[in-house]
């Protein structure tokens, strides 16, 4: 069997990490014992067949299997080990399946139909948020959207008297969180000003705040402040104008329409929130996406909570409801770092997602809470060459017994991590000179913008490959080489992993369509009978 149900890697990890900490390689006996212990553990694993009181769905946006593997090594090397033996928190979950991520109309999908599949149980088209694929892209009519909307697990949780929350490092109106609470045929209609004239379907930010089932959504934490503020109001942190043309200040409305409600936009305010005294918390920590984890503490002016801090605060607010809760947590910027062709930020954001999962699991009871960790889609990110065990994951590939990096057939060193396409292509771009590319476009000599990352709109053909040094490639701003020049690196179509623990987690097995994730959550929460009625109503 290609991948293993009932997988337990705790024993292996513990054994191997202990060995490395002692600077001893595991002996052949150690490997054998660890392997055997994994099987013994699996034999003692008993499926939790209870109904779930709570469900937490973690989504690493763009967190493909290669991203998880590289992040595991990255994290392990930071802990002082070789890295390969390490396990991210969710890799220790006992149940695993693979998810087929294609959408109704795309071989390689985007985050909108993939999250729609996960939270509604139905696959849809690119750009669609929790509406079925039979309508037009960018359908402007609220009536048509309403007639074709798909009930989400979050909505069903609310209808069943549970609490609900969404947490993300992306804008809270971005595709992944938005699919949980909004219905629209254009994922980009995040504020009213993003919609074309005449569109009657409400924008995504308004759908979040106007959400009316059972007193509204309890927790929404992430980025995207500008789309909640009118263009007559300036941003409290940066002074830039809000993006709403309808004059609505949705942050103020959040506070006025909900009971025991708070709105926060910086870490000090966030830290001051007492979960016992707050029932509805809106936290918007940047005008658009929040910082990458690698930059958060050093660069953010007003201070932002980490994904871990947002997750644990959300749980503390949601868990007050004796009927349970549904929480979605997205590591939203893994995807952005990959699109930028910058492995370092993708790996450090994945590491932070793993930390959030670990902190959540410590807070909850796995007897009554189903925890799922998955990705919406993958990226064209590869781990290659034949580097020696423990070779720095961001470094040049250097083989077993070699004193210097392995050379390609041009006589040049290469990195372990690469992208099949994207802005790391080494020809001259309209923003950076020929050779290695960096996340930062250096300020150009002479008066010019020099005020952005590397999102080129044109390239010249590369001549050969650059000569890479250890210092260049291990720099946090280095963009790994790509074969096909593109302004942004793309998603990839291979399957992604689903890790699960808690009630009904064992229902994840084999290779499944991505929409199965919804059906496991619905089964665990006992919505399936209830759902059959909605099924008929909503999915004609």
């Amino acid at each position: 069997m290609l991948f293993v149900k009932n997988l337990s890697v705790v024993a292996v990890t513990t054994l191997l990490i202990v060995s490395i900490a002692q600077a001893d390689e595991p002996s052949p006996e150690d490997w054998f014992k660890a392997g055997r212990k994994t099987v013994v553990d699996a034999m003692h694993l008993h499926p939790n067949v209870r109904h779930a009181k709570n469900v937490i769905l973690f989504v690493g946006d763009g967190m493909g299997v290669s991203t998880i593997t590289a992040s595991r090594i990255f994290d392990g090397q930071q802990k002082g080990g070789h890295g390969e033996e390490n396990s991210l928190s969710f890799e220790k979950f006992p149940y695993l399946a693979l998810s087929k991520t294609y959408s109704v109309n795309q071989q390689t999908p985007d985050s909108a139909p993939t999250m729609t599949a996960m939270v509604t149980g139905v696959k849809s088209n690119d750009g669609f948020l929790s509406v079925n694929h039979t309508i037009l892209r960018s359908e402007p009519s609220a009536g048509v959207i309403d007639a074709n909307k798909l009930a989400t697990i979050l909505e069903q949780a609310k209808q069943n008297g549970m609490s609900a929350g969404v947490v993300s490092t992306a804008r809270i109106t971005h595709a992944t969180p938005a699919a949980c609470y909004a219905h629209t045929a254009n994922r980009d209609w995040e504020a009213d000003s993003d919609r074309p004239a005449g569109a009657t379907v409400p924008d995504i930010a308004a759908q979040l705040v106007d959400y009316n089932i059972s007193g509204g959504i309890e927790v929404a934490l992430g980025g995207g402040r500008a789309r909640f503020l009118p263009n007559t109001v300036t941003d409290p942190e940066y002074g830039s104008a809000g993006k709403r043309k309808d004059g609505r200040d949705l942050t103020a409305e959040w506070v006025s329409k909900h009971s025991k409600a708070n709105y926060v936009w910086n870490k000090a305010q966030f830290d001051a929130i007492d979960p016992n005294k707050t029932d509805h918390l809106l936290g918007l920590f940047e005008p658009s996406h929040v910082h990458y984890e690698a930059d958060r503490v050093a660069h953010d002016k007003a201070g932002e909570p980490s994904l871990t801090e947002m997750t644990t605060k959300a749980i503390d607010i949601l868990k007050k409801n004796s009927n349970g809760y549904f929480l979605m947590v997205e590591g939203g910027r893994i995807d952005h770092a990959h699109h930028a062709g910058n492995a370092f930020r993708a790996l450090s954001d994945t590491q932070q997602l793993a930390a959030a999962v670990e902190a959540a699991v410590k807070k909850i009871n796995l007897e009554d809470t189903l925890v799922i960790v998955t990705a919406d889609h993958s990226h064209v990110f590869t781990i290659g060459g034949y580097p020696v065990r423990g070779n720095p994951i961001l470094g040049l590939a250097q083989g077993v017994g070699e004193a210097s990096p392995t050379l390609d057939l041009l006589g040049l060193p290469y990195t372990t991590l690469n992208y099949a396409n994207g802005p790391g292509y080494t020809g001259a771009s309209n923003q950076q000179v020929a050779g290695s590319k960096t996340f930062t476009t250096p300020v150009t000599p002479g008066w010019a913008s020099g005020s952005e990352g590397h999102t080129p709109t044109s390239y010249s053909a590369a001549i050969g490959r650059p000569t890479l040094s250890k210092e260049t490639v291990e720099h946090h701003d280095y963009l790994q080489e790509s074969i096909v020049p593109m302004g942004a690196e793309t998603h990839a179509a291979e399957d992604v992993a689903i890790f699960a623990n808690g009630p009904q987690a064992h229902l994840f097995h084999g290779i499944v369509e991505q929409n199965v994730i919804y059906h496991v959550m619905a089964e665990a929460l006992g919505f399936t009978k209830h759902h059959d009625h909605h099924d008929h109503h909503n999915r004609k």
């Binding site: 002074g239 990458y292 699109h339 008066w447 044109s458």
Partner: protein, 234 residues
Amino acid sequence: MKIITVLKFTVCLTIASFSLASDADISNGQVLPELACRYEMHIVPQDKSQTEIHKTWYFWRTANSVQTQDADGGHGEIWQRSTTGNIQYRKLYHNDKTAVEYMPADNASNNISFDWIKLSSMLSQQELDSLKYVKKSEIMGKRSELRTGKIDGQSLEVQWLVDEKLPASIIRKDGVRTVELRLLDIAPLLTTQYKPVSVADIGNYRQIDATDFGDMENDPFVKKLMAVEGQHTH
């Protein structure tokens, strides 16, 4: 479309400079007059097989904004300084009524710190100070200083308009190319015939965060941007 020639405005400019002085931000110890300029840029690569580039563009400066625009009016850039001291940077695609925004969270992580003096004067105070004063002169009827020297391995020759705090010309040379920037027209912003697109109009443009390009593979604007500009080098 040209900015009205400068000679007619010498007197106006003097008045405008004084009247605007009170509005201009002086937090950096500089009082910058609000101006509309037209510049010509000429890039000559050392490698003769590469093509020379000629470009004319507009430059508008207020106390808290700098805006540029290509001569054909299609593309521009705007930097706005807010009351919190932050600078919002957007690329403008006027034909598509679209502004592409480069967000602070990404700019900060990119270690980009905007030097407002450099943005609004094209040279930082430090760069200017590092150039050697050669002689006084008068260009377009304005007080000017010739300054020369080396910055970051490039040799520079600058004609600096002392009162306007802008270059009348900059010639930069390195081993790769010569970049010549030359002022063609200059006028007070209040009286210029060629106005920038207003901030209010830009506010009504479609706003896209550049970070989102990777997820906008089917967006007509993003597709066009990549495809059209991609052809330039072929």
